[in-house]
Every structure is written in structure tokens, then in C-alpha cells.
């Protein structure tokens, strides 16, 4: 069941931004994800009914966008930029180091649930490549050593 709090957040977005409830689907999925961490089949079914959409239709939206998670993720998501400027500046070596350090491949979560590692397209930090984001924080001009230091800040 969608909690009253979730419904209130979605309802206020619909009221301010959308002529129809379905217009709020992306924001509503983000709201649900903020509360529940990821979007389960059950979450999709509940929200679809609320937005007057079919579950398949909403699933089509939920699986389309990079920042909507249809599988559980760790407490922190590490987004490593694999686009061209970061590639030129040595992203592959950095990724190899990260995989060794975390013991996971892109798309996976550490067994302790601390980190999920995901690739992301250009972060708009091309002049400070290679770059990555952890949750909402951008980290630039990375080296393997700098990455190890940054990691300690995330519990």
C-alpha cells in the first residue's frame, strides 16, 4: 500500500505540474524510490493503479531511465563515467582498480550492501576526467589512490 506520505508527495506534484496523473509517472517513481530504495514489481503495480496506468505501461517507463532501479541497490551507488573524455584520460585503469577494490563488476552490489557500481554516460566533467559520482556527489580528476580515499567517506 502506498503510504499517506508518498501519496501526498505525488498528489502535490500532480496538482502543480500535470494535467493528468500519468504525466507525473517519472516523478512518482522517483518519490517511491526515495522511500523504498528501489522499484519492486509490487511497487510498480501499486503506483500504476494510483496513476491510472497499466502496470506494463509504467514498467516500460521504469525500465527506460538510468536512475530508476528495478533491482535493489546498495546504500551508495557509484556511477563511473565511461564516456569518451574519461576513456581517453584513463577510465579503464581506474575501473579495473575499483573492481579489485570493491570485488564486484559493473551492475553488481558488494555483499555487505554498501556499494553498487554502475556505468554512466558523460557526467559533464570532461575537463576534470576521469570522473565519477557517488550518490549526489561528483568526484573529479580521479586516480586509484584518490578513489580509495573518497570511498572511506561513505559508510
Amino acid at each position: 500500500m502506498l503510504s499517506e506520505e508518498i501519496k501526498r508527495e505525488i498528489e502535490s506534484y500532480i496538482r502543480e505540474h500535470c494535467p493528468t496523473p500519468r504525466g507525473a509517472s517519472i516523478e512518482a517513481l522517483m518519490v517511491l524510490q526515495r522511500h523504498r530504495g528501489w522499484l519492486s514489481d509490487e511497487s510498480i503495480r501499486e503506483l500504476a493503479a494510483y496513476l491510472e496506468m497499466s502496470p506494463d505501461e509504467l514498467d516500460g517507463v521504469a525500465t527506460f531511465y538510468n536512475h530508476l532501479f528495478r533491482k535493489p541497490v546498495g546504500r551508495h551507488v557509484i556511477w563511473i563515467c565511461d564516456s569518451v573524455s574519461c576513456w581517453i584520460m584513463g577510465y579503464e585503469g581506474l575501473l579495473e582498480h575499483m573492481q579489485g577494490r570493491l570485488g564486484i563488476n559493473p551492475g553488481e552490489t558488494t555483499p555487505d550492501g554498501r556499494f553498487t557500481l554502475l556505468p554512466i554516460q558523460c557526467l559533464g566533467a570532461c575537463h576534470h576526467a576521469p570522473a565519477l559520482m557517488i550518490d549526489d556527489d561528483l568526484h573529479e580528476d580521479l586516480t586509484p589512490q584518490k578513489f580509495d580515499e573518497i570511498l572511506e567517506r561513505y559508510e
Binding site: G60, W79, V84, W87, I88, C122, G124
Partner: protein
């Protein structure tokens, strides 16, 4: 040299809050335009200034605005959408403008909205620009508080609401009609371009979509006039441009320079030339979806008419440099990997063709290349070209590939001949 777009931006410093922005002359253009100018006068002024869209296509801004219906009993509401979904690899110019001087964008969009008499403006911001989101959130609140947004702006009778929409992330959202579908809560797949969004866009209502950098120019045009704006430039397009350079140069970064500044000047004077130990090999001038240019093209002015004359595009004006220690096949493979992943899958050539190109490039790079692979890549470059796909994603994706097959032919052949990547 005047740098109107970046004059208030100080590296590493807090962006300007509204009082300081006003002290620096900010929002004067809103007072002037909304009180003394008719909407059509602003459209004419922007046309006379030769402002061309900075998102990549370079379409004349005033001409686009003029296609929005302006009759009093026309369809309502009307929308202005600010494209701040900067996801082109290599591009980081809009982020600098929004993080450094958020009110400049808000002032520009108020003027753009007034010109087309829009009721609601929406900034479509990419998800990863979290710092921009925080900055714009307080700046929007300040603008409402000071009466530059909301009802009866600056006592003019014109009203405008402004929303910040944060995308859930997908490159195709930067295609205008796909962006509209995304804002309507769907998958970001493109729409047929007829009718044009300025006639029937968001929720079927007239919608004008402008890039963030484009709108940042408008307050300065209103304040200083069309001739002043044209005087900033070294070519017939008006204004300055935020140019950027990434890759193995001494000082990667972005600079506001006269439109039409030659590539060589940007690379050597501003980016400081190549780092020690590497030499220049080629450059993609305007982001990932533009053709490679070689040494002999470096004196071409970076503007919308000159770059196409040597076979590429100005695009976003943010260039990526390839050096002689980096594998060109690997670079093209990286680019096609990006485009294949970001294809929305709506039309078959793009959905099937880009992963095919990517797989072939991977094979060549990893020593499994066959001589016939080059013919296949050339054919894909033609099959995914303009007019063969639903939207411009795939033609943009094959621009670097098509040019690489000509410019780096020997490197491709060497990979295939030696069954390995010579750079690894």
C-alpha cells in the same frame, strides 16, 4: 574583449544571489523589455542579433520564436522549455553557466517566455547535475520573491510560472520531441516532427524549446542591442560562445570567446596545446556526435557555417582531442558503445544498427577483425544516415565513425592485419 555570459562567474566561488546579480545590472533587461517592448519587438531584436541556438543545431533563435502562434485567442497554455539536459559526451558548457550564474538563465527565460507569451516555463535538467539543481532551486525561489516570476512580473501585467524538472536520465531526452514525451510521463521516444512543437508540443500545446546557453544570451541582447551583439563575434553569427576542450591538453577547460574563434587558437592559446609526450592527432569539434577533423582543418573558425565546410559540425562547441598515444579505433568503439546504449530503441535501424557497429569495432579492437568488417562499417554508416532513421541520434552516432574510417583507415587495417590493438 567582452565576456557577457561569464563576467559574473568566478571559479570556485558561490554563484551570484539575486541582490548581487541586480547590482551587476541583472534583471534590467526584464524591466526594459516587459515595460517598453512588445513581444514581437523582442523576437525581431533576437533575429536581428543573429543569435543561433547553442544546443548544437544552430537554428536561428528569433526565427524559431516567430513560429509560435501569438494570436490572443490561440491555444493556451503556451510553454517554454529550457533544454538543460546536457548529456553529449564532451559537453560541459551549460553546467558552467547554470552553476555559476543561475539568475542569468532565469532572466533569459523570462524574456524568451515574454517574447512568445508563454504561461509556464520548465527547465529540463539532467539528473546528474545535482549542484545545478540546488543552485537553481534557491535562485528560482529568489526570483519569485523579488517578483521576476509569478503574477504581474515587475508590474508589467505579464505572468509566468517556472518549474524545475529533473530528468531520470537518458541521452535521447535531449531530442526535443523525446523530451516532451518524457515530460508527459512516458518513455523518451521521439515524435514525428509535424506539426512542429512550437505549434503542438507539450500536452499538444504550443511549446518552444531552447538550449540553456542560448537563453543566457538574451538579456545582453535586450540591454545592448543587436549591433553590439553582432560586434562580439568574428563571423556573421552573433555573440560569444562557450568553447570547451577535453583530452590530453595542458589546460582542459571552457572559455567564453568570440563566435568564430579558430580551432587552433582555442586548442593552443586557451587549452595550452598538447601535454608533454603526446602529439595532436585529430579533434571532434562539437561533442561526440560530430566528425573528426585533422591537423589541416585547425584554422577553420568555430561557427555554424565554417565547420560544415570542412566536413564536420560545430555542435556544442566543446571539443575532444585525440592524441597520438590513444587508439583511434578504441575511441570510436567507446563512442559507438555510448550511442548504442543510449538509443531509445524506437526505430529498427538505430536499435539494431548501433549495437552491430559497436560489436564490430570491439572485434577489431580486440584482434578479431576481418577485412570485410570495414565494408560492413561503411555500409552501416550509410544505412544509419540522415533520412533513414526516425530521429537524428543514429546519424549523429555515425558521424565520428564515418569520418574515422577515412581519416584512420591505416589504423583500422593495421588492427585487422596484426590481429591486435597496436596501442595496447
Amino acid at each position: 574583449m567582452e565576456r557577457p555570459l561569464t563576467k559574473n562567474i568566478r571559479d570556485g566561488m558561490e554563484p551570484l544571489h539575486i541582490k548581487d546579480y541586480e547590482k551587476a545590472g541583472g534583471y534590467q533587461a526584464v524591466h526594459k523589455a516587459l515595460k517598453t517592448m512588445a513581444p514581437k519587438e523582442i523576437v525581431d531584436l533576437v533575429s536581428a542579433a543573429n543569435l543561433r541556438g547553442r544546443g548544437g543545431a544552430g537554428f536561428p533563435t528569433g526565427q524559431k520564436w516567430a513560429t509560435v502562434p501569438t494570436d490572443d485567442d490561440g491555444p493556451r497554455p503556451k510553454y517554454l522549455v529550457v533544454d538543460a539536459d546536457e548529456m553529449e559526451p564532451g559537453a560541459f558548457k551549460d553546467r558552467i553557466l547554470m552553476e555559476g550564474d543561475p539568475h542569468q538563465l532565469i532572466e533569459g527565460l523570462v524574456l524568451g517566455a515574454y517574447a512568445i507569451q508563454a504561461d509556464l516555463a520548465i527547465i529540463f535538467l539532467r539528473h546528474e547535475y545535482t549542484k545545478v539543481a540546488k543552485t537553481l532551486t534557491w535562485a528560482i525561489a529568489e526570483a519569485y520573491e523579488q517578483g521576476y516570476l509569478g503574477s504581474n512580473i515587475a508590474g508589467s501585467g505579464f505572468s509566468l510560472q517556472l518549474h524545475l524538472h529533473i530528468s531520470a536520465g537518458r541521452y535521447i531526452c535531449g531530442e526535443g520531441t523525446a523530451m516532451l514525451n518524457s515530460m508527459q510521463g512516458g518513455r523518451a521516444v521521439p515524435r514525428h516532427r509535424l506539426p512542429h512543437p512550437t505549434i503542438a508540443g507539450l500536452w499538444g500545446k504550443p511549446t518552444n524549446i531552447n538550449n540553456a546557453e542560448t537563453l543566457c544570451n538574451v538579456p545582453h541582447i535586450v540591454n545592448n542591442g543587436a549591433d553590439w551583439f553582432k560586434g562580439l563575434s568574428r563571423c556573421k553569427d552573433g555573440g560569444t560562445k562557450i568553447y570547451g576542450v577535453s583530452g590530453k591538453v595542458k589546460r582542459p577547460g571552457a572559455w567564453e570567446l568570440p563566435m568564430g574563434t579558430p580551432i587552433r587558437e582555442i586548442l593552443e592559446e586557451h587549452a595550452g596545446g598538447m601535454r608533454e609526450g603526446v602529439n595532436f592527432r585529430a579533434v571532434i569539434p562539437g561533442g561526440a556526435s560530430t566528425e573528426f577533423l585533422a591537423e589541416e582543418h585547425l584554422d577553420v573558425p568555430m561557427d555554424y557555417d565554417s565547420v560544415p565546410k570542412v566536413g564536420s559540425r560545430m555542435g556544442t562547441g566543446t571539443m575532444i582531442v585525440l592524441d597520438d598515444q590513444t587508439c583511434p579505433v578504441g575511441m570510436v568503439h567507446n563512442l559507438e558503445h555510448f550511442f548504442a546504449r543510449e538509443s531509445c530503441g524506437w526505430c529498427t535501424p538505430c536499435r539494431e544498427g548501433l549495437p552491430w557497429a559497436e560489436r564490430i569495432l570491439k572485434d577489431i579492437e580486440e584482434g578479431r577483425g576481418q577485412p570485410e568488417h570495414l565494408r560492413r562499417l561503411e555500409k552501416l554508416g550509410k544505412d544509419l544516415w540522415l533520412g533513414r532513421t526516425f530521429c537524428p541520434l543514429a546519424p549523429g552516432a555515425v558521424e565520428p565513425l564515418r569520418s574515422a574510417l577515412v581519416l584512420f583507415r591505416e589504423d583500422f587495417e593495421r588492427h585487422i592485419r596484426e590481429k591486435r590493438c597496436p596501442w595496447r
